[in-house]
Amino acid sequence: MSGILLFVVLAPLIGFLINGIFGKWTKPYAGVIASLALATSFVLGLFPIMSVLHGNIVEHIYYTWLPFKEVVIPFGLRVDALSAVMLFVVTFVSTMIHIYSIGYMHGDPGYSRFFAYLNLFVTSMLLLVLGNNYLLMFVGWEGVGLCSYLLIGFWYEKDTASDAGEKAFVVNRIGDAGFTIGVMFIIYYFGSATYADVFPRAEEVLNSTAATIIGLALFLGAMGKSAQFPLYIWLTDAMEGPTPVSSLIHAATMVTAGVYMVARSNAIFSMAPIAQEVVASVGAFTAFYAATMALTHKDIKRILAYSTLSQLGYMFIGVGVGAYWTGMFHLMTHAFFKGLLFLGAGAVMHSMRGLLSIDLMGGLRKYMPQTAILMVIASLAIGGIPPFAGFFSKDAILAHALEFGHPIIWVVGEITAFMTAFYMFRFVFTVFYGEEKVPGLYHDLHTHEAPAVMTIPMWTLGILSMVGGFVGLHIGGVVPFEHLITQIAPNTEVANEAHYSETVLIGVSVTMGILGILAAWIIYIKKIITAESIARAFKPIYTLLANTYYVDEFVACCIVKPFWWVSRNFLWKIVDVILIDKGMVDGAGWLASRVGYLLRFIQTGFVNHYAYWVSLGVIVLSGWYIVKII
């Protein structure tokens, strides 16, 4: 088993090395090689997953990576229920997206480079997920950040893409600092960073303050990686990358790493109610806030990006209130339907030659029937309509939020659910239904259905979006998914758990979803109320939303620019060049030359004057010596 487990991680790495080093020669087959590597990884990954389903924990230590005196960090891989879910999601979705990319990236000059990066990404992601200690998780954590940087900036000739990549990396680094601090606190308290050492001892070692500090520090990391408010700003810009990247990294896997990490650290978070409160509140706020921005956006990928933010907020509500399994559950279903949504958007872009604005689209259903159906499925899933996957997970989160005593979050969540359904169907209705907005555009662009190599992965994800939620059904009084996850991440025990009728809760959720769809139908299909009239009626709000609350502008002019200005004009040009270099260093030289100038006056040039000085020196020195010995 240890070899298999190692090879799960190594297979994509080998793919990366082949495509990365021999990319020039493997170019025609790069996609196939990469997909094969991933498929191998997926298949091999099933073995440990099966073992975990039988109730085992698979853990192997391969060598000692960092042997410090104070702490020893092994290189070990661990599959338990949490990582099994992640392992499955990551390898499966990645395989699908790799296959999809063969079609999508066809003909790109950086074809082999793209697959090399993707494989490297999956390697890092698997390390993140499977590492048996926090440091190894951090390796993966930074690794995925790096690949995200490389892939967002994949079309590096576009400055927006390069900037977006750098922005992603830098913003993530803020989170990484938090993560590092958290890890250092863990090492400080536990003398180890290995999960098996840390979690069982958490209750005896930590007090609630320490747990809160660690929790908040780790959550800062999660905020960066999972793009929670206010560190979300990189995610929308990240849409500059190729669409499969957005699908894989910025929807299905990498951005959910924060959720995974919080769920993984459940033992610590469960001891820190304040940290949990923060996690849940930030999640709820982000869910709502991002949804509002998705309402008005016109760029299909950015709508999906905001939607991702919003859904990530849901996941954080789940893990924040202490029902870790719900967060993980939503993570999984979200990977399916959001991955699918992005792939669908990619297919649209593919056939629209890179056009993104929904203003140009309409009635695409006729040209791309399969994509249209899949997008509807995915939108129903994300909108929370039973029996699609999203319904189960979202409902589980909201129900637990209410039950664990967070009614406000529940209300926010339900409102967001309404908005979610609305903006998704706004997207679907304007793009796939209605009439063509620009006559003859599709003909000019040769718009057509995506090739099979792209639709087959989409269908696979589509099916999972439909049935993936069933693991959250009550079967014989047990929810299988809950049962699986709570072995590793038990729910936080809440003192007075409230109970509500399940039917009512489901009813509210479903109503919200249907209301959202209905609203979108009224506005965008029936046009009883036009979108423009609403926009006019709420002009200030609309402007604010359409400009995404001016956050990017705020960051640019109030943080980035002053920072550079101070560095350039104050630190460099004044402090460094003038104060330290001219003032202190050259000043010392100047002083020496001044002193020398003064001393020049005793240089008369007469030999006997020098002799006077010499004698004076002799007298003084020997006189001092005489005084000393007397």
């Binding site: 680094r173 601090i181 350039r568």
Partner: protein, 518 residues
């Protein structure tokens, strides 16, 4: 102890000197022979230094491969050399990096080739001498000896502003050396006062530290000397000048090895010899280091010149090293030493990288480049990897060192770790912004279209560095295990406190000594 029963250290140190002698005999016109000969000498030197690694005994902190010959008997000076876990890797780094640096000059240096190669060889001797000396005066001699070749290298083969830069470099570091000289002599005589023997053996001096109240001025004098060399904020302003004007090989050696002499000096003198003051001044040094880390990053960010940027990044990186050292924890100290190696490798490689494009385009301004990725992809890949190593991405060497230092600082006092954890953010900003402007984006400057990708010689000197980036990143145990015991011992020495001899007793002591002399 010399497990090889063979003067290996002297051999390593003086092979280049002999080589310089022979190079001097070659006809100046025969440049190829000179280059090959120098390169082979340096490679032989590296190969000869390998047994140090393999025969090194990691279970003892005592000096190993020791050679000991009286030098000036009546004064207690000796030719006394040896390595322990602290200096071992610095010696190896030197023998490893110099051939690569020399290889980079084959086509970059086109005037006075012979002299240049002689200078490199002499510098090699000087640098190795510093790292192997156990005798304090020998250390000082080598310390000064290596200054002159560097002075020549910047002064003769430097850029347009080289004269100013050399003067600044030389005077600045020499000012530091003067402080060191005074401190060394004071240490020598004070040690005699308290122990009754004249010795300049650093191991003995470490074993019997002075009373606490006498340590302060000595500590400060050594501090200034080494802080200038490191360089710590605010003693760093010679560094950008020297780097910008120096030829590529000069920058590589300067950043890779010469700066390490400063940090090494701290480990050899300040920490073990003045333990009380080390604790007393630790806070000051740590604050300066933290300022250096952030300040270096901020200033690096806005530099228009790639080399200047990398130079300021050195200030930042060595700030980490100093921080780890004065955190006075095992992991911090080991991290500090590892960071020295990492900095030598990554920053050395970055200077080589800059040298590659400088050689082709004769400019180092960031704004002159752009879009190199599509023109010279292999170069861009190498550049990327060393950039990542410099910003400490896990899996590369930079991460291991920086994390160890962070952890060490954190264990000393959590607040240090927390503050410095955000340093990585800024290193990412300046390196990636620079990388983006140079390598990404569109090709805007038509002159760049002519660029040629790396040739075989350039491959040859980048690959070994690449190997070490990942070796240290993935399996640092090779390096950490050898320094463990020495660092433990150093830490013990630093953590002992010296009994304070009361004032009257000491005054009496001085008086008797003076009378005896009279």
């Amino acid at each position: 102890m010399n497990q090889l029963h063979f003067p290996i250290l002297s051999l390593i140190t003086f092979i280049p000197l002999m080589g310089a002698f022979f190079v001097a005999l070659i006809n100046e016109k025969n440049e190829n022979l000179i280059k090959w000969f120098t390169f082979i000498i340096l490679v032989i030197d590296f190969i000869v230094s390998l047994p140090l690694f393999f025969y090194f005994d990691p279970t003892t902190y005592h000096m190993q491969f020791v050679e000991r010959v009286p030098w000036i008997k009546s004064l207690g000076f000796e030719y006394h050399v040896g390595v322990d876990g602290i200096s071992l890797f610095l010696v190896l780094l030197t023998t490893f990096l110099t051939p690569l640096a020399q290889l980079s000059t084959w086509s970059a240096i086109d005037k006075k080739v012979k002299l240049f190669n002689i200078v490199i060889l002499l510098m090699q001797t000087g640098m190795l001498g510093v790292f192997i000396s156990i005798d304090m005066f020998l250390f000082y001699v080598f310390w000064e000896v290596q200054l002159i070749p560097m002075y020549l290298m910047i002064g003769i083969w430097g850029g347009p502003n080289r004269v100013f830069a050399t003067m600044k470099f030389f005077l600045y570091t020499f000012a530091g050396s003067v402080f060191m000289m005074i401190a060394i002599m004071a240490l020598y005589f004070l040690n005699h006062h308290f122990t009754g023997t004249y010795t300049s053996d650093m191991v003995k001096l470490m074993a019997t530290p002075l009373p606490a109240h006498l340590q302060m001025w000595l500590f400060l004098a050594f501090f200034i000397a080494f802080a200038i060399k490191v360089p710590m904020w605010p003693f760093h302003t010679w560094l950008p000048w020297a780097h910008v004007e120096a030829p590529t090989a000069g920058s590589v050696i300067l950043a890779g090895i010469l700066l390490k002499m400063g940090t090494y000096g701290f480990l050899r003198f300040n920490l073990p010899m003045f333990p009380d003051m080390t604790h007393a001044f630790a806070l000051l040094v740590i604050i300066l280091s933290i300022i250096g880390i952030f300040y270096g990053a901020f200033v690096a960010m806005v530099q228009p010149d790639i080399k200047k940027l990398v130079a300021y990044s050195s200030v930042s990186h060595l700030g980490y090293s100093m921080l780890g050292m004065f955190a006075l924890t095992q992991v911090g100290l080991e991290g500090s030493i590892l960071q020295m190696l990492n900095h030598g490798i990554s920053t050395g490689a970055l200077f080589l990288i800059v040298g590659i494009i400088y050689e082709r385009r004769h400019t180092r301004l960031i704004s002159e480049y752009g879009g190199l990725a599509s023109l010279i992809p292999v170069f861009s890949v190498f550049f990327m990897i060393f950039t990542l190593s410099s910003i400490a991405v896990p899996g590369t060497n930079g991460f291991v060192g920086e994390f160890m230092i962070l952890l060490g600082a954190f264990l000393a006092k959590p607040i240090y770790g927390i503050i410095v954890a955000f340093g990585g953010l800024f290193s990412a900003i300046y390196m990636l912004t620079m990388y983006k402007r140079v390598v990404f984006l569109k090709v805007t400057n038509p002159k760049n279209l002519e660029l040629k990708d790396m040739n075989k010689r350039e491959w040859a000197y980048m690959l070994p560095l690449l190997l070490f980036v990942f070796w240290i990143g993935l399996y640092p145990n090779t390096f950490l295990s050898k320094m463990r015991v020495s660092v433990e011992h150093l830490l013990q020495q630093t953590n002992r406190s010296v009994k304070v001899i009361d004032k009257t007793q000491e005054a009496q002591l001085i008086k008797t000594v003076v009378v005896k002399k009279g």
